[in-house]
């Protein structure tokens, strides 16, 4: 760097009054061309999982609040970006074309996770951001050394609002714990945190309600999915496999409310075959996925799934990301526990298939589509439905909050399983289109 700046001015030997120092010549050369850049690795709030496809940009002015959920507006390159880039499969980025500044406003965003920074960026070189500063926030108070703050000292960070219905074996709330969302953000349907937890009393008839360590029970999910007004408080609604495959707790009014929610911009995440009813009974969605409920679930054996990197345009980066995230034994493959094999067909024109499995006589797997998503309204870039044919948070240290109160029932972030990582990609906006 010193050599580069040596040409900034030309120096002429001269007698300069009383100090005999060199004087600057009038034919001073202009500054040399150089590249100023910013780099780092964006991770989930847990600081472990790299985030692919996150947007990193320099803002010309304050980016303003994110839309109130649900909304078709998504994490596209914002109009106030002076320079922007996206993270690669390993979460790394390098933002070129920026101007050196002692206080450069930088925004990191993945879906509706966002952190605003003020960064001192040196000229003619690369400024590497510390890992803590490029972590997506795990709470509304998650400040780092360079995080911008409001006048009152609140860090300028955003998290999506999430409703999570715990499943039978599929303890989906533990996905969020493993991703690094702080315990302070969880509530039972009436709190102010970003994540509200629910259970389905009808599906767990006679069972003790799952509860928090403080004793409060999870909220009743039927009060959530029966009302669009309740659903619309959330960016993401996760419904875990809750046993109620017959759908007695999911009347037509709920089917309608859920459909309206996703079509208005919400992200609906369904795990396990008991939640296929939201798709099967919705006339607008029923043709997207084909289910065969006669196929037996095989929840006891780990199965080798393949990444669809041929029909899914984002499949290649997804495969690379799974491998970089330590979820794949070999690129394009992943072992998954707790799978059923009921999603036997999909509309390739509108559905993105992420993971699939082909029949294996030896291991008992059936050919099926194990992780899929489609935009809502179908074919439009607004909301999204994600369906996994496996129980995402099954086993591996996670257990029901009826057995051990939340969050003690969840495994540590370091214990993230490959299938949790596989779903996390979509929770951070992976593969989602801009409107």
């Amino acid at each position: 760097m010193r050599a580069a700046f040596a040409a900034l001015v030309s120096v002429a030997a001269a007698s300069c009054g009383d100090n005999q120092h060199q004087a600057i010549a009038a034919d001073a050369a202009p500054p040399p061309a150089c590249t100023t850049s910013l780099s780092g690795t964006v991770t989930a709030p847990n600081g472990i999982l790299p985030i692919a496809g996150a947007t990193v940009y320099v803002a010309s002015n304050a980016p303003g609040p994110l839309p109130t959920a649900p909304s078709c507006q998504f994490a596209c390159t914002p109009p106030n970006a002076v320079a922007a880039t996206t993270t690669g499969a390993d979460g790394t980025f390098r933002l070129d074309g920026i101007t050196a500044s002692p206080n450069l406003p930088v925004v990191i965003q993945a879906g509706r996770w966002r952190r605003q920074l003020v960064v001192p960026v040196l000229a003619c070189g690369d400024t590497a951001l510390a890992a803590d500063d490029t972590r997506l926030p795990g709470s509304s108070t998650d400040a780092t050394a360079l995080t911008a703050m409001s006048a009152t000292g609140a860090p300028l960070v955003d998290l999506p609002t999430i409703a999570a219905e715990t499943g039978d074996d599929d303890v989906v709330e533990c996905i969020l714990v493993e991703l690094g969302v702080a315990a302070s953000e969880f509530g039972n349907g009436s709190g102010s945190g970003h994540v509200q937890l629910y259970w389905n009393p009808e599906a767990f008839a006679g069972a003790k309600a799952p509860s928090f360590a403080g004793g409060a029970s999870y909220g009743d999910v039927t009060g959530l999915w029966n009302r669009y007004a309740a659903l619309s408080q959330f960016d993401v609604v996760m419904l875990g496999d809750d046993i109620d495959a017959a759908g007695s707790s999911k009347p037509p009014s709920a089917i309608s409310a859920i459909g309206q929610y996703a079509s208005s911009g919400g992200q609906l995440v369904l795990t396990g075959n008991s939640q296929t009813i939201w798709i099967r009974n919705n006339a607008a969605w029923a043709s997207e996925l084909t289910f065969d409920p006669q196929v037996d679930a095989d929840a006891t054996n780990a199965a080798m799934f393949a990444v669809d990197d041929t029909t899914n345009p984002d499949g290649t980066i997804y495969a690379d990301w799974l491998f970089d995230a330590g979820a794949s034994p070999a690129p394009g493959t992943i072992y998954v526990d707790g799978a059923s094999y009921q999603c036997v067909g999909y509309d390739a024109a509108t559905v993105a298939r992420w993971l699939y499995v082909t029949a294996s006589v030896d291991n008992g797997e059936e050919s099926s589509n194990e992780l899929v998503s489609f935009s809502t309204p179908v074919g439009a870039a607004c909301g999204e439905v994600v369906y996994s044919d496996f129980e995402v948070a099954w086993g591996d240290g996670n257990e029901a909050a009826t057995v051990s109160p939340f969050p003690g029932n969840c495994a540590a972030p370091s214990a993230m399983t490959p299938q949790v990582k596989a779903m996390a990609y979509l929770l951070f906006g992976g593969g989602r289109s801009c409107p």
Partner: protein, 332 residues
């Protein structure tokens, strides 16, 4: 320090620049902001080029004026300090600091409607500030023993961390610079004066070392963030010096500057070759890294502070004997 009521005594003032100057020595590009009497200090918060921002101008006895657009100004009256020595934004946060003639400091977090004293006063009166992302505001001060020190405000001034003393004389200014985000330059005027550098301002025990600056009357320092090895220093009687190697060697500026004290310097945030000097005989500009200088304007005034609008090379404020001036043509 202040009554700090509900801010209802804030007075909107029409500060539309109206006077381009009748004095022949004033260039047409400079306009007087008539609302500000006897200004002494200026800063802009937040110190990024984000909007909205607030421009703060402190005066010698009429309080601190604030404006979100450079046109309409408000003054909190009794909810703010009367006189100011220096102002600073807070890094990463729309909060502004003011150091006051009695040695205390105040801050505002509501755009200047109210000011309150910091949790504890700085150990010594601060005469110049910098705002450093990830570190905090730092102020240059003179100890009771006649040395300079730099004070880092913690928890918005609840506590202060002082550098080891350096130089002999009065602290005059401070600026970020050098080849790391942890580097800063401070100037001292006096028998042991000069330019001093620190490369660890973020550490718990930071210090400043001499740069072997050839003069002892350093009054002002400015650095070019687009070429951070470049440092400009203004002096009381030796005009301007330039270093292009982070202070290892110094060169006297070229022709065109008057024999006048250089109390203020500002570098174009987008071009390190464009530098402005606030002197006791107006604003001078150089477009060749200090090799040659021309009068920009306000030649009948002593100019004691220069401030570019955040990130903008086109809007430059000057605090002069006759008031606050604005130039929206980059000083031309």
């Amino acid at each position: 320090m202040c009554a700090c009521g509900d801010g209802s005594n804030a007075k909107p003032i029409d500060g539309q620049p109206v006077d381009s100057g009748t004095d022949a020595t004033r260039a047409a590009g400079w306009s007087l902001v008539t609302a500000i009497p006897s200004p002494v200090a200026i800063t802009i918060s937040p110190n990024t080029f984000e909007t909205p921002y607030t421009i703060y101008v402190g005066t010698a006895g009429s309080g601190i004026f604030a404006s979100a657009d450079g046109t309409t100004w408000t003054n909190p009256g009794s909810a703010g300090p009367t006189a100011v020595v220096a102002l600073s934004p807070m890094p990463q946060r729309p909060v502004a600091f003011a150091s006051l003639p009695d040695g205390t400091a105040a801050l505002t977090s509501d755009g200047g409607a109210e000011w309150s004293t910091t949790g504890s006063p700085p150990p010594a009166p601060i005469v110049s500030w910098i705002s450093v992302a990830g570190i905090g505001p730092l102020g240059a001060a003179t100890t009771i023993d006649g040395s300079a020190e730099v004070l880092q405000a913690k928890q918005q001034g609840a506590t202060w961390v002082a550098s080891t003393p350096f130089g002999t004389g009065s602290a005059t200014s401070i600026a970020l610079g050098g080849d790391t985000p942890q580097a800063a330059y401070a100037t001292v005027s006096g028998i042991g004066g000069g330019v001093f550098v620190s490369t660890d301002i973020g550490s718990a025990s930071f210090g400043f070392a001499t740069t072997d600056f050839p003069q002892t009357d350093a009054l002002s320092v400015a650095t070019a963030f687009t070429a951070r090895m470049t440092i400009y220093v203004g002096t009381a009687t030796h005009a301007v010096y330039v270093s292009t190697d982070a202070g290892s060697t110094w060169m006297a500026a070229g022709s065109g500057l008057p024999a006048a004290a250089v109390d203020a310097l500002a570098v174009d945030p987008t071009n390190a070759m464009n530098v402005f000097a606030g002197t006791s005989a107006g604003v001078y500009a150089s477009k060749d890294g200090g090799a040659t200088w021309q009068l920009s304007g306000l030649g009948s005034d002593a100019v004691t502070a220069l401030q570019f609008l955040n990130g903008s090379p086109s809007t430059l404020y000057a605090i002069a004997t006759t008031g606050l001036y604005i130039n929206v043509a980059g000083g031309d």
